[in-house]
Symmetry: D2
Subunit: 361 residues, 4 copies
């Protein structure tokens, strides 16, 4: 039985959106080459140990902090809240949950003011802040616009063993579910949850966790994503293109997954849909639908299911990883024991229902 | 030792371009649904047994003939020559080669005049014609322009066991090589050959043959190809998306391979480059370069290497398939016995050179 | 002196977004040909006098109602509110403002439930509703996806003589200003105001009003908009392309203005930016900046400044049009009496500051 | 009566394509900023007085030479011929025409070998060469690929008073006409002529000449052209966007015209069509068809009709400009004396035939 996180009696903080991620990298120069040289993120400021990066259309100080450290990991998933008072609300909320919290009036990073960081019930380091330095929004700086330009931070993705537990916790925190993946036995494999009016600010992927599955940046159009692939080919680092490009079934976005020098996974993502109405319809996908993860039925590589980044506690130590005990999406859909279908056909067997094995070994 | 095809003493016919393919399909209604309903090719005319299709910007009668028949196969690879006299030249050329030829003043298909068909030295049914009915060129009929519009026939691709033999034969016929794939032992795995000013009018892929590997249509932009994938997903036939979309290393084109109801392979292709200068540089790829077939290092599915369509002799019987004896590209690059690299690195081993296994089974 | 609309003591209704517009057309068959045949909007339902249309990604019943009538005009600008109770709030709010209101539990159109319509202080027919019939969201119906597909209703645009008065009224109603156009004398020429997280749900354009300037639908990418132009060229109705395509300075969106058979103006619009943060920076443009309306400095045609659609009162009679007394944007920026610059240059005169006259007569 | 250029008795040189243009600029640093900084052309080499530029997919030494000089003008329209012997053929051909020629075995510019330059019968400085240094083709250097990347030189455009005379001369030289603009009185206003398999290598525009109307570079896709506009907006040089972007009627290409610091006109161009068949249909446009120059009926600015660059004789002096005596396209189609229509309608008058005045003054 799942032990659900209790719902606090105090109001949840009013979250606006996912705002930035702080990641620890083991070779800052190499990471700079990747995020600035290859991906073209814009440097707000930097020093010997830290680089503050933002996407083209951002006006807050940063969307990504790279910090030099001994172990590749994620130090914070940071959300912006609606007002300074909501930082107090966040602190009170997590205290009632019995979580460890740390408040810093001067912020945990440059460019961010009064913030609280918490070790949340799922083991993730969440941050909540309102105050931030406004910087030049580069929206119309087309003189700086690269062919694969990243224009917005779109979302986080977290790996957690018990998706229904995580989902209930996030719903209490004010997130709404846009889509999920289930099976007919009632197992939930993943859920997409939003505050802003897109498909998600964060998603929960069932697996051993707490770990960070990926952080996603948006481009304007699909060709921008193709250019990133083309450039990685030109730089002869195509082995760091992990999966895609493709069209997601879930979210309908055009996507690409790539790996930074430490193996942190970055998604490049464009053109999901508006979710701002209160009765926005939730879409549930059958885990056996072979178009759920890729609308074209292209195979998901095993590493995408199994690999993810460690997350840190508030002392900077990696959180222990707890194994998922529910069925694994990879196991139930791929290979000898799993099955998937292209269409729910009247007929029997593979021919009627289709399925693309799709891959060599 | 390879037995090369002798070079005739009479001049080769002056070929303009690949013009159309005639394929035999086993269920004409199903094929119509695929080529017209899904792909949006334009029907020039049709009767009970035959459908004549053209791409948007074509002004000759057709680029593809679908003919109902008992066995899925290819009846003709048809090239347009520069003048009526060149049909005579073609007939004389193949006669001197000792090939079986058939001349029909009224053409082999509707909309085409005086033509000669031959069983060429590699076993393929080639046709040469000049006369054709001009039809409405739909270039500016944007009222008919679908989101995945096919605008031109781009090329053929033929499977043949002995690529150097085929290449020498086609060079005699006036084709020039734009790109090829080789290894350090001198084995040629594939060659791309053109008459018009693109990367190819036809390519030779090493394998058991004679067989037709694919026929390719061009779109204007990359998003048109993505739409074809998206539409096949919506129609729940993503299991007929065989490979891609991706960026080719060879040719630099953006590509997609899909399968028609009989398993005939269609490529959708866009944005290769100009090859019209007499000294256009030939590009040679190392067979172990993992970006040669897909610039992003995404895996080539085994079926793409092994499956192809039968071709017919002039009596309409399938040509026997002869096994390739040279090394197979799939064997030397994939799996336990093969190897591929992302970059030619100084260091040793997989980490330095990279390689994306990329796939589940 | 401007007479500002008083702020009611009761809370403003909590508006989610612009949801649909009801327009009166004088020849329903012609309008159907335009909106369905040319633009590809999807028919939810229709009868002899009325057609209910929606964009691809919409799940509420409609985004546009075409109603046959004697005079081309706009019958309603309809907003969705956050809950059924907010319809009560809207009614109370406008009653306190002394506006005429009409409440219909069964809705004013098919597919919409309990609604209130008002004659607002600026003379516009506003509607507020929550209840609506959910219909199939066609987001992944790529089999229906046309090359110029309209995927969302984006915004309204209203012509009103006194922009500061209108702006203050809409701010009281909960809208926030994303951008505006002013001059150094303090005259406001236009303002963009949003509830959802885009640049606007509605905008105020200074001019004789109340009139409807345009209603805007979004596409996914820029090429979709170009296709709409291309198609109108193919149909030989390019004289109904009024302005564009181009890049807006204000909003940064790629745009196109076209005219329906009655002269109602439709904008096609894509890729503005996220405005959801509470401190989203407001952008103010100088009315003399020649890139404010078109980032490329292309001229705004006079009709775009002068023409607009009548709006109806709750009895279905056209509202009288009141003249703008403030300076007109057209007059101050174009021609003999106006001036515009490409850049704020140190030097004097046209050469240093640039300006593109851009047009013939 | 037109005095046609006599057809020589010796064979015309076998021209492959337009290859490069040499232009004189009055401020080399400013021009470098435009062609390299704004447009991103690639520098093959440069010295104090000269810059050699090429497009991404070019393998010959250059497509554009910028040479510092006292008067902005064009020094050469250079064509590549099929073999070294064809340079001899060109020299003989123009000698028989009585034209001044100059042969330089070492070439007129760096990177080009044995060449002949001529003052052709229309007064243009034409060059013919075969030998050239091959340089790195940057086709797959996506690490260098800018968002508005120029990938090929596409064509020249020349202003000449007597289009039929120029056309007959170029047809003798082996060019074929793809499209032209005429009126019902038999006046020819412009003609598009090709050697390579696109719509043109050069075009003749009726007007005072000899002058250079523009030189055109191709992009891969339409969004690349839009980015060039966006970047010029960001750099606050939108006053150098002269016309477009738009869709041509003639050629069907998507286009943009911009002006370099000396007023030399550059076209950015993409997606015309294949013309390689010997019987490629010629398209004739009515000069009164308002979609001929812009498929969307957007107005052609007067400067586009009237302004052009001087061309130099072989001594480097500007050729005198001769006035066109035939009707002017601008005069017959625009304003008080001209007329244009959107559609050939049964009805009478502007309403039935349409026409977009489209512009302010």
């Amino acid at each position: 039985m799942t032990n659900f996180v209790p719902t606090p009696t105090v109001p949840a903080p009013d979250i606006v959106r996912c705002a930035y991620m702080e990641i620890v990298v083991t070779d800052l120069a190499k990471s700079r080459e990747f995020y600035v040289g290859v991906l073209g993120l814009h440097v707000t400021e930097e020093d010997e140990n830290t680089i503050y990066l933002r996407s083209l259309e951002e006006f807050i100080h940063h969307n990504l902090v790279l910090r030099q450290g001994p172990i590749a990991a994620v130090a914070a998933f940071a959300y912006r809240v609606k007002s300074p008072a909501e930082v107090d609300a966040a602190e009170a909320y997590y205290k009632e949950l019995g979580c460890r919290t740390e408040r810093r009036k001067e912020g945990f990073t440059k460019g961010i003011g009064d913030s609280v960081r918490v070790e949340d019930p799922l083991g993730f380091p969440y941050e909540f802040f309102y105050e931030t330095e406004h910087v030049e929004r580069l929206t119309q700086r087309y003189d700086l616009y690269s062919a694969g330009e990243l224009v917005r931070l779109d979302h986080f993705n977290q790996v957690t063993p018990d998706v229904p537990r995580g989902r209930a916790y996030l719903e209490d925190l004010g997130f709404r579910v846009s889509e999920d993946i289930k099976d007919s036995d009632g197992v939930t494999y993943a859920a997409w949850m939003h505050r802003k009016q897109t498909v998600h600010d964060t998603a929960l992927t069932g697996g051993n966790g707490p770990r960070m599955h990926h952080v996603a940046f948006a481009t304007h159009e699909k060709h921008n994503i193709i250019q990133i692939c083309d450039k990685m080919g030109a730089l002869r680092i195509s082995d760091r293109i992990e999966r895609g490009p493709g069209r997601h079934g879930v979210s309908n976005a055009f996507y690409l997954y790539i790996l930074d020098p430490d193996g942190h996974r970055i998604e490049i993502y464009t053109q999901d849909y508006y979710t701002g109405d209160p009765d926005n319809p939730t879409v549930t996908w059958d885990v056996h639908d072979n178009q759920r993860r890729d609308w074209w039925g292209n195979p998901v590589v095993p590493s995408w299911y199994t690999e993810a980044s460690l997350v840190l506690d508030l002392d900077g130590n990696p959180q222990p990883v707890i194994e998922r005990t529910d069925a694994s999406e990879m196991a139930v859909t791929v290979g000898a024991d799993g099955f998937s279908y292209t269409r729910k056909s009247e007929g029997e067997g593979a021919e009627a229902q289709g399925f693309k094995l799709g891959a060599q070994v």
